[in-house]
Amino acid sequence: MLKPAAAIVGQVVLYGAFAAFIGYFATNPIYRQIPDDIAVLKLSFSHLGERECRKRTQEELDKLPRNMRAPMDCPRERSDIKVELDIDGENIVTHVMQPTGLYKDGISTMYRRILVKAGTRKLSVRMQDNVKEEGWKFVKEETIDIKPAQALVIDFHPDKGGLFIK
């Protein structure tokens, strides 16, 4: 060991280095997530696909036990859901969401984070939750002035009129 005075000076320096190290890296260096002129667009859904139901005929219904005579015959399985997103006419996302669950009877979900340059952009989203049908069941088009660092969401809510951009 060193002489007490020298040892104390050494200890002060080492404790100081410890404090400086912790104090600095607890907040610095500043982390830059995205460049200045960029905004984030989150394309995310959590939605149940359609089921391919069929109306039972009277004959079929009669054959069923009384307590099971539901007019519609629905399989457990749900349809995939198709999604497309264009920005300024250019296709950015084409995706098919599959239902979750062992029997493909659960919700279909997606979450995609897309970086877009700020400015006026035309967004068009299309969704079809029954792939047996032709075309698109839900379509939303909007021209938005996107600000830098803005976080936009494209989601679907059946009670709020389907697709929305926020």
């Binding site: 040892a7 200890q11 404790y15 410890f18 912790i22 607890a26 610095n28 830059r32 979450y111 803005q150």
Partner: protein, 523 residues
Amino acid sequence: MKTGAAIHPLVQVPFQRCEEAFDRFFGGDHNPLRHLGAMGLFLLWIIVGSGLYLYIVLDTGVEQVYSSIGYLSEEQWYFGGILRSLHRYASDGFILVMMLHLVREWAYGRYTGFRFYSWITGIPLIWLAFVSGIGGYWIVWDQMAQFSAIATTELLDWLPIFSEPSARNFIAPDAINDRLFTLIVFIHLGVPILLLATLWAHVHRISRVDYLPSGKLMRGTLLTLLLLALLKPALSDIPANLATVATETRLDWFILFIHPLTDLTSPAIIWALLFSLTALLTVLPFLSRRKAAPVAVVDPANCNGCTRCQADCPYAAVTMAKHPTRRTYQVAVVDEALCASCGICAGSCPSSTPFRSQETLHTGIDMPQFPLNTMREALEQRMSALSGQTRIVVFGCDHGADVSQVASTDTAVLSLICAGMLPPSFVEYALRTGADGVMIAGCRQGGCEYRLGERWTVERLNRQREPQLRGKVPAERLHVSFVSANDGKILAHDLTEFRARIESDQHLSNKLQPYLRRNAHHA
């Protein structure tokens, strides 16, 4: 493992040098690098103490968390604010100390054999520590929290855990709710409790755990953290706003470094890295080809059940049971799975005295790879070969300075498994059978491979612990050096000084009465 065996000396030597440099300023007992586990526990108590206060004042509503924490820093900076800063900086210190502790144990090759259990139980601690830390930052609900919450959930969503992406919880300002916040607080409380429970398991096979650093080291550390808290109080960023992205955030790099790393690579790479590192740490003990040394063996015929070996064993490997032949007596029993093969118990046994006249020395508890009888024979044989004016016997330790370097015509050396294996009666024996001086080269303070060897050696020689060095042994003829494997020069220097001291000291006529075992036996 070949590569492991090749790498860890590359880290061990620099680590050891740093530790020894710290010794110069702190001394072994107060050296933080020698007590990293205890430092971790101390920081954890600071975290728990300050955290309890933060929890009391915290309002867990989404709207209220930010202001209730901010209130501490602004209105109550002299108390709540300081506790908040302590909570943050002690957490960063904890992560730092934990990582150093991990690297140190690895570098010293301390992950196999009897240490397997400590090593394996250490691995979940790393995960728990980071989960607690990351969760803690979310509670502030400022921009850094928002960034971390989104980055973490996006990372988690790469794994097939949730049926609905968890990142959807933070997708828009109205997505988040009070219930989620209560859950986050609950996790930040629950995971540390799990961490404490795992820590209990981590140390429970060790006896006399280094639960807390020395008072001096604790005061120094606390004072340092308090000063840091005053000079650079922990503050919140601007409030979280899910309608925007924080382009630039401050970041706690100790805890949140994983987010930039994910941005730089990809979730797949990060998970592969995390899982393979965890797997690597887990299999490391199995890859080692180091052979386990034989464990201590009890000879009931020479054991009187005094429990000294139980008291001295650093790994709680000795328990007491009913003696097989002597009624009302106990006998020591060694648990092979726990035994570190250190020999400290052999040094503690009252039967371990070379003055016993039997041809073969038997003791109560002994090491098959280096029995006390072999130790006595080697000592007698090497001493009989000595010549010169001042004959010195040096007892060393296989893990400390290499004593064979100082062997010469007037110096006999004997390296033990651990200095703690030396029964003090051997010192007296050497002095009474022809040695002019005995030197013991133990490890540096706090540097014992088996944790407690150097401590017990000193206490036994200072007559503070059984078996004590007998009172008749003159202190001038005994010298203890604390030397690590890097201290060969210090050892040689100490020996030269010791010899010169003996030679120059006029009062040293106090030689002990000679003892001749074989004559005594035949008489």
